[in-house]
């Protein structure tokens, strides 16, 4: 294949754009991780030297550790609940024609359109009115609302690509509809389900805007705790806690991807 001048321009421009985009995506996080290992007392770049002292402080900090625990179990429960509800919604939208289908679809995606702050304030008022504000319930509900659209989207895409003839074949082999879903549909869209779970987990785990309205003394999540802490102090402890968040998120994603990989290889 021969290239002329415009091809070269496009290739170079493409490469430059890619590098710029990746750098902008990765640099802030990389910077935080690098600074978290500083031996100094300030968030200055370049770091004064290498030490794990801020990690030690982070793990010794009761507020941060209890917030990490809260964030993790909230995200896990939200991911599971969003997966169940989202799959049910996506399945209904994909398979059946029913009155109000358009409305359901619009509702399922509406949290993507409504600004998160608006959602947070709305949920705060709603749960205050329901007298549920001093419980975990608002946080679960708020994160669930945020996570469901991603799950519905991802699962719907999987279901659309899924080969329906296989389900007919299973039905022809005497499998009841429930059995078809369990033995054929779910195993075959498993990669989609797992990426949906990742979306849900990450959405919940990293959320500030909605959480800020819905947390109370006993259930502060890690991002909210970070925000509160930043109000009065600005030191590498913030970087260490942020890095822990990044590591937890990465660990979840990698574990799930490993699961998908193992499934498709076997």
């Amino acid at each position: 294949m021969r290239y002329d001048f415009t091809d070269y321009v496009l290739i170079v421009a493409g490469a430059v754009t890619r590098v710029a985009v990746y750098a902008l995506l990765a640099l802030p996080a990389a910077l935080v991780v690098v600074l978290s290992f500083t031996s100094g007392e300030t968030m200055d770049f370049p770091p004064a030297g290498f030490s794990m002292q801020w990690y030690q402080k982070a793990f010794e900090s009761e507020p941060f550790m209890s917030a990490l625990w809260t964030s993790t179990y909230v995200a896990v429960i939200v991911a599971i609940a969003a997966l169940v509800i989202g799959f049910a919604a996506a399945f209904a939208i994909n398979r059946f024609d029913f009155p109000g289908k358009g409305l359901l679809q619009a509702l399922a995606f509406s949290p993507l359109i409504v600004p998160a702050v608006v959602l947070g304030i709305g949920l705060l008022y709603l749960f205050a009115w329901m007298n549920l504000i001093q419980t975990m319930f608002p946080l679960f509900a708020g994160h669930l609302v945020l996570a469901i659209p991603y799950v519905v989207r991802t699962v719907l895409a999987s279901l659309t690509l899924h080969n329906r003839v296989l389900e007919e074949a299973a039905m022809n082999l005497r499998a009841s509809p429930l059995r078809v879903v369990r033995r054929i549909t779910l195993p075959l869209i498993l990669p989609g389900l797992l990426s949906a779970a990742i979306f849900a987990f990450v959405t919940s785990f990293g959320n500030v805007t909605v959480s800020v309205f819905l947390t109370y003394g006993g259930n502060v999540t890690l991002p909210v705790q970070l925000f509160t802490y930043l109000d009065h102090s600005y030191n590498p402890l913030v970087a260490a806690v942020s890095s822990i968040m990044i590591f937890v998120t990465l660990a979840v994603i990698l574990t799930i991807e490993r699961l998908i990989g193992a499934e498709t290889l076997s």
Partner: protein
């Protein structure tokens, strides 16, 4: 594998599948219109027709994937019209085979047996029995993606037959195979079906498949049944111009039979015979026309070569006789091919030519 292509052996009272005035409408569009059909025990019946003729919809109504708009579907004497697929005693081989990609060959075959709550030992026994039947016992542990097209098809057949269904349904089972493999798989499939003596309903648009495999052929067109008969009936005694044209090659002449029984085409070609008087179409197959080099035989005529198509084993020639264009097939010695415009002497086998009366 010889079979009698002229007669079908069946007891007319013993239908495994019976369709009664079945119709399917999608909105205003008619997919299947008033189809009535019985498939006898052990019979291999083929639904043949062009795409969109309703043959696949008919098959899917037997399997239960499509609910008829009207009419009834009976399997083994029981009304199954409104029963879901998983309550019907059918085994289907899909056009794409539809093997479950996440299960091994053995798991695929065992799937139906599991749903019928067979014990593990019984399932294993039947799976190896089925794998032996299709002569692929060494593939039990493979995934479908590791099989060739022909192997996938045989596994799909084994899976469909494992439950010993009352009726085997085949939806264009050869369309994904290349030409040579298709012929081989056709013979194998027929041998397997014969050996297990399963009643079979089979959909194809390929007339050769239908002629070689079926006990009876149901020719469909526009959602309706055009003709039902043995392969011999369908080929030799087509009841409509559509059937004559769809099955095998033929030249069709419009015209009328005069009171003496002679067919006279619109352009004046006379075919003396004993047909029933009235307007009609003469169906002349290539094999009804033979070369008559000396020109002395009974009804020898002269034809002018208009087109030639070389097929290797034979040459197809379009002859102009009295202005009518007729197709014939002949083997010419190398170097002896007729040229365009050349005159050939031919005779027509009047007793084999069929005239279909116009209604």
């Amino acid at each position: 594998m010889s079979k009698d292509f002229e007669t079908s052996v069946r007891d007319p009272g013993d239908y495994v599948v019976e369709l009664r005035s079945v119709s399917k409408l999608y909105g205003d569009a008619v997919a299947v219109a008033d189809v009535s059909l019985g498939v006898g025990r052990g019979e291999l019946v083929c639904l043949l027709g062009p795409s969109g003729c309703g043959k696949t919809t008919t098959l899917r109504m037997v399997a239960g994937f499509v609910e008829p708009t009207s009419g009834t579907v009976e399997i083994n004497g029981q009304d199954m019209t409104h029963q879901p697929p998983y309550r019907r005693d059918t085994g289907m081989v899909f056009q794409s085979y539809a093997l479950f990609p996440h299960m091994t060959v053995a798991e695929n075959i065992a799937f139906g047996l599991e749903n019928l709550n067979w014990t593990r030992a019984d399932r294993d026994r039947r799976v190896s029995e089925m794998l032996n039947l299709v002569e692929l016992p060494h593939l039990a542990g493979r995934l479908p993606s590791q099989l060739s097209g022909g192997q996938q098809q045989r596994i799909a057949l084994a899976r469909a037959l494992a439950m010993r269904p009352a009726v085997l349904l085949l939806d264009e089972p050869f369309s994904n195979l290349d030409a040579q493999l298709r012929v081989r798989m056709r013979e194998e499939l027929r041998a397997v079906i014969r050996s297990v003596e399963v009643t079979t309903l089979f959909v194809t648009h390929d007339q050769e498949e239908a002629l070689t495999m079926s006990d009876r052929i149901v020719v469909m067109n526009g959602g309706r049944i055009e003709q039902v008969g043995t392969p011999g009936d369908i080929y030799e005694r087509p009841e409509s111009p559509f059937v004559a044209k769809f099955i095998g090659w033929c030249s069709m002449l419009e015209g009328a039979v005069d009171p003496e029984g002679t067919f006279v085409s619109k352009l004046g070609l006379r075919l003396p015979g004993k047909w029933k008087a009235g307007p009609g179409s003469a169906v002349i197959r290539p094999e009804h026309i033979r070369l008559s080099p000396d020109g002395t035989a009974g009804h020898a005529r002269e034809g002018r070569v208009v087109e030639t198509h070389y097929y290797g084993g034979a040459t197809r020639i379009i002859l102009d006789i009295n202005g009518e264009q007729l197709m014939m097939e002949e083997r010419f010695p190398f170097g002896g091919h007729p040229k365009l415009g050349e005159k050939l002497n031919v005779t027509l086998k009047m007793d084999e030519i069929r005239v279909i009366g116009s209604p």
